[in-house]
Amino acid sequence: MSNQRQASSASQVPHLSPAELSYLYTSLSLPKTPIRPDGRSPTQFRPLTAETNILPGTNGSARIGFADGTQAIVGVKAEVEKTILSNETLASERGAGPEPTDQEGSTTAAVGGHGSWVQMSIEIPGFRDDDALPVFLSEMMRESLVGAVGTDENSDMTGGLKGRLVINKRWHWRLYIDVLLLSQPLAYPLPLLSLTTHLALLSTKLPKLKSQGEEDPFFDDDWAVAEYLYPRSSPSTGAKISSSSSRPSFVRPPVTLLVISVGENIIFDPNREEIAVADAVLAISITRDTQAGHLRLLSIRTVDPPSRLTQPGVPNSENVNMLGAVAPTDDIAVLNPVTGEEEVPGVWRPRRGGAKRSVISEMVKTVLKKGGVGEEVLEGLEGVEVS
């Protein structure tokens, strides 16, 4: 357990021998056609089961289970809270004078919402909630959530999620997103948590507001008329948007994808063993741009690859037990063209250094490109029945 804590951001260091690591690296870095241990294609995700609205006591909830048995449950709760007005807002109100008593126009313009209204906590068994991994994951997902800003000028979501939480100048919603991982993570839990959070937010409903303007808010008791936090488009929600001509105006929560590079290959949704040999690990948050019809990048973070913490293998030429048993020509260090390090083929060395700019750029491009993995994931999530 203490070992896990130390390897903070990299989740756990897997207990693989240097020989296994080397074998895995070689098969994953085969040019063009990497061979993954579970036979997936580089862009293929693990199969999962998903359901939403499982907890009646929350505003929205979802559960996702991966085939390997790891499960996450996300519950979203919203509470009404009083907005603390800053001096400047007060001053500008005073400066505006008493004439515009009917503040139709100014309410939407003046109030933008605040990122701290979205709170996120992640519970991972075996970790305290102030350990590095939960903190890093929750900050990563929160920053893309509050960072996503709508593009459609006329919809409710102009200010993104932040703007949606504004009730009026003096009141707002506070959103608590609690993420629960039900078992110790077998892989880096980011994809699981991000997808579950996405679904939970999609199913989140807020009670319908009955008060108007600057009154103290009161709400319709009827849960059946509650409105979705992320409004549905008027036509059927499950419709796949193949062309941007229909241009449905809806905003969707972002998703964060985990991408690794091994050699020259770019691999999505790595499992625990694959991430252990990754040269670079990136977490890329994307959302759909409804107007332009392509994907927008919201954030990129590097994740510390666990391959830096692995145990090195010993080449035969340096192994005392093998002295004289091998010809010196058997293992000659060659230059790995990707990492720029001298390596003996078949002998594992922990990764050093970082990633080249070209590699990072290529990874982002694979996510964002039209018909790429990002669109595929978002469409798949769109297909989950949200009742």
């Binding site: 994740v303 830096r308 080249k356």
Partner: protein
Amino acid sequence: MMADRRRVNGPPSGTRPAVFTADLQLGASATDRAQRQRQPSELRKIFLKTGLIPTASGSSYLEFEPSASLAAARANPKSLIPPSSALKLACTVHGPKPLPRSAAFSPNIVLTTHVKYAPFAARQRKGHIRDSGERDLGVHLETALRGAIIAERWPKSGLDITVTILEAEDDRWWGSAPDSHDASWGMMNVLAGCITAASAAIADAHIDCLDLIAGGVAALVADESGNSAAGTTKLMLDTDPAEHRSILSACVVGYMPARDEITELWLKGDSSKASLEEGDDRSGHDALIDGAVDAARGAHTVLAEAVRESLLRIVGQS
């Protein structure tokens, strides 16, 4: 919660200074937004010195040059509130030292990073317990450094890196309403400073690295010059968030020039709308990363000089 009755505590949430209407009209000039005086690709000067803390095996102190507006405000004060702040931080390195007996075997050096704002570092007081932002910075710093340190040279050892931030960069201009842009852009500058300072301190502690790793920040900001069409964006290096009305997207990298590799990348904000200058067909994020790398190259020259100075000092002592 037990109240401390031995002393008179202030109200827990703080108070707001009274604002008089007279100030509101007059105050327009005193509360002018700081303006960027530098060229888009011009960096702030960095002061970096190593070996200031004798009890640590390595240490460094880093300071950014205050912006021109701050100097002007000090020379000719119109308001008691300084218009912007400049980064000041100290970094100490303890180790390599043996791991405690209870710890599991590690073939590599075990790195622990600790980033803490001093309570007075930001305009809003920080508590003594690290909040989630500070922990997050710690993880970022760890990721950046772990790629640079040659970890297998010290099996079974630990290395503690502690960064104390004495003055933090603002997240926005203090006068603008908190909702104008509330993403913590200042934290990115702080992280870049942390990376550069920690790299100097690690070199001061004589720990083998692949290269000196430097941090750099670049941002896409809305163009406020007024002579161009509205909605255009500009790529700026080493942005001071207080000087810009709206930052669309920012990026910080930890960069090793000798290997041309990035060990830490943190990009946030929406860069898809950004229209760069004519003839620049890079996508927004690529331009940001390249910009941040350029900024890091600039910081690297300072870093190399500081490390050389400290070496000369040690040679001089012996």
